[in-house]
Symmetry: C2
Subunit: 260 residues, 2 copies
């Protein structure tokens, strides 16, 4: 079974992408709603939570883990790889791979939470692979609360998106990484503000699903270990009405959230 | 020693008010930054956290507890009173007492987090004491993230405050309870938007300090049990730079945050 965790329900955009591209495999999801959000917390605290979440998914029978939270992926990936032996996917590397291919001018923008941007992981990894590339990062701490409030198309949201994107627009980035699993829900708005025709948006949810598919095609022993019968399960450490609404928005159908 | 807890650093407005009005008594504060915010979480989860926070403060030697978080006070006060025998103060009752006295027309507005407003505690308690009074409530989930982002005077914040306050303005409330410890930091802005001359703002931080002072004057055995020497201590379950900045904003001086 494929185990996916996130700080909340945003990571369900990853679960949805995996479900679409790889419908044969069973998914168990964990959203840490009792401690959400991670993006404003310290690296030490996020690492501790990421370890606990991985242990929970392994105990459920996960043979492969996807860290579907950019904040956790930014600061906890190395620790998780040292600590656990199962294959570990995260939302950052596939997005970086895609951004490097996508950029014509070499100017890449990255938006994310405070934890993600402060970690410097996108900048470090992109320039390590190609020192010619320029990375411009912008923390956008209000976008997660705006999505959770359901203000996807509100005038205030448009203004805040414009304000956050302004410095990246000034730098004329031609590729923009959506470095948070909530942001695909604001994709259209972000695309309009940054320049629809000129800028390619990189959605890590889709990229991680593609990367997982390629991996399974070349790793039959792992592929065979994954459960192919049963139900997908969506566990959360707290149940709130807002979470249920966002889950339904992402999947286009009601999702039963199971309290851990 | 007086124990004060909150989901984060917003409750420091209460600690500050107590420190100003009752400088002789030592305070130990706990801010649950590792699990903040509470306002978007479920009542069951908030109750669990409130019990743990109270136990922590009692273990530090608290002889009296102040629940400086409206979300926790809304849903956990009854459980805490059943479970613990120390005197328990919270930010809701003193604000209600003041609002009932302050309203000339009997139309009281309340703003707070989703958890606070959904609990219905203000409405229930105000109309229980005086069924003639009308209570109009409005959840304002974006105000806490806006304060934590430091956008105290941003145009976007003004627009969002206007949008949240619009229904209360329509109802012509003459008294407005700031039902979240973060909101005093937006007091000037809220006051301008709701109508400075016409509407009295009730800041629960100041009210709970007054209520505590009155209690200590009539309960010498409790008053004598409170520590009067030593340092005030500010514990947090996570240390973030944003928290340190807000703490400094509230106290007007740097505050040393001790990680639990």
């Amino acid at each position: 079974m494929i185990g996916i965790f996130d700080s909340g329900v945003g990571g369900m955009t990853v679960a949805r992408a995996v479900e679409k591209l790889l419908p044969d495999y069973r998914i168990t999801y964990f959203g840490d709603l009792a401690r959400t959000p991670y993006g404003s917390k310290s690296p030490a605290t996020i690492v501790e939570y990421a370890i606990q979440n991985t242990e929970f998914l392994l105990a459920q029978g996960a043979k492969l883990i996807i860290v579907a939270c950019n904040s956790a992926a930014s600061v906890a990936t190395e620790t998780l790889r040292q600590r656990f032996t199962v294959p570990l996917f995260e939302v950052i590397t596939p997005a970086i791979d895609k951004a490097i291919i996508a950029t014509p001018s070499g100017k890449i923008g990255v938006i994310g939470t405070v934890a993600t941007i402060k970690s410097g992981v996108y900048d470090r990894e992109i320039t390590r692979r190609n020192p010619q590339l320029k990375v411009y990062s912008q923390p956008c701490p209000l976008l997660v609360p705006l999505v959770e409030e359901g203000w996807l198309d509100a005038r205030e949201t448009k203004m805040i998106v414009r304000r956050y994107l302004y410095p990246l627009k000034q730098k004329q980035v031609d590729t923009l990484v959506l470095g948070c699993t909530h942001y695909p829900l604001l994709k259209e708005l972000i695309s309009q503000r940054i320049g629809k025709k000129k800028v390619t948006l990189i959605d890590s949810s889709a990229e991680v699903a593609h990367s997982l598919k390629a991996f399974l095609e070349t790793h039959p022993e792992i592929e065979q270990s994954l459960a192919k019968v049963g139900e997908n399960r969506y566990y959360v450490s707290d149940v709130t009405s807002a979470a249920a609404a966002i889950a339904q928005m992402i999947f286009g159908r009601p999702i039963q959230l199971i309290k851990t």
